[in-house]
Symmetry: C2
Subunit: 278 residues, 2 copies
Amino acid sequence: MSAAVDPSRLSINQETIKQWSMTDLAAGCAEEGVTGVGLWRAQVQEYGVERTARLMRESGLTVTSLCRGGFFTDIGEAARARALDDNRAAVDEAATLGTDTLVLVSGGLPHGSKDLTGARERIADALAVLGPYAEERGVRLAIEPLHPMFAADRCVVSTLGQALDIAERFPAAQVGVVVDTYHLWWDDQAPAQIDRAGRGGRIHAFQLADWITPLPAGVLLGRGQLGDGSVDFKAFRALVDGAGYAGAIEVEIFNEDLWARDGGEVLRETARRFRAHA
Amino acid sequence: MSAAVDPSRLSINQETIKQWSMTDLAAGCAEEGVTGVGLWRAQVQEYGVERTARLMRESGLTVTSLCRGGFFTDIGEAARARALDDNRAAVDEAATLGTDTLVLVSGGLPHGSKDLTGARERIADALAVLGPYAEERGVRLAIEPLHPMFAADRCVVSTLGQALDIAERFPAAQVGVVVDTYHLWWDDQAPAQIDRAGRGGRIHAFQLADWITPLPAGVLLGRGQLGDGSVDFKAFRALVDGAGYAGAIEVEIFNEDLWARDGGEVLRETARRFRAHA
């Protein structure tokens, strides 16, 4: 069994407590002694990028990652140019927020296409442009493999192995991966791939959510609170820590039941579950 | 591009046209010149095993597979003994129906368990008992890897590679695999694993359904008619044929919209889609 998790590694992804405004989040985390947050671009833009950076700084919070760049799989030149522009803006926002990690959701199959391999190549094409831009600004691009049930409509990168096959074409200071238990828990190749990622210095983020069933329609909001489902978090942390990762551990749960509850209560429950299960 | 598919390879899994009774199925297939069917145990038992065998024979139909044995992952001794008994009965039914292939849905995680590896080992334990029993009756056990979204509640075998890792512990005349496009389409390792399965003589069934989104609640009934989704069937058939498989190609779609329509119309549409896309 692993040693108990260091509670100070907990970072709360703001989507876990979506009912909270940016100021609620900053105040709530400060009150509970949580020192890390993962932020989302839409919320950051709404509150203001500089203003968010200042709020987090003044609240003693570290931004552990920004979600999300990506959506690189379109075929048309105009759409691809727009995606690059948008991702440059995301890198700039990450740099302003002081986080070194921009999480990428790479994009699904373009309408009518059945060509997974081609779509994956277009991701690499985009990273070749964005990698140096990000590195110059101290930001690392983190490819997040999404569960294979999202391969058609959100992300053609479905396994950690696939993510590393792309990331390793670039320097680790430019492109790495996200290890998210929700997406990888089923994969018997994940342990070997986590080791591969760690050896290459490419674990840029480690995220937790549990796998619960039945899945809701659309499946996006089916993630479970830690301990409610099938994921062996201690085994995952042992692998990720064993691969040399010592950074923040972000809890990122999309779940309407959590969003319907009092935010402070959700944060306290999440912190308790983190200490018990992570 | 592959050569056009031989239309006589089409087999209709009866769940594709669930609105049809066993006699509707036999008459409908005979009328359309479809000569293969995949059957399900519940429907066969309801109509009678011997009686189903006779009906299919008299209608000129070959039973290409029987679904489903499996559910081997329980921990308790009594539950495991019941599963073995039930699977022996399934083998007997397959033999009576004259099919050489019993499809296995191996089972998910037992309630409260997070141990995927242990669950996979219990599958192998059961196959060690059932393999010889099946072989004596001319029936092959076919492990079906199910999409990773079913890993918790239906099947801890999520990839063709995992299925082969288990199957290869036994003679190919006892245990093989099902290649189902719906479950495997996203996996960049599938081509290599199909080749591995074919070289070992372990492709016991080849099934088609398309991947469509959004997924419905519970995700089980989200399969698409051929051509409506993201699967490149011709590429899959080239791989499976190239690996030496020359048997029936079963269309198995669980979709409430298809079930709400006239069965004959669904059969004709499926046969057309098969010729166009497979």
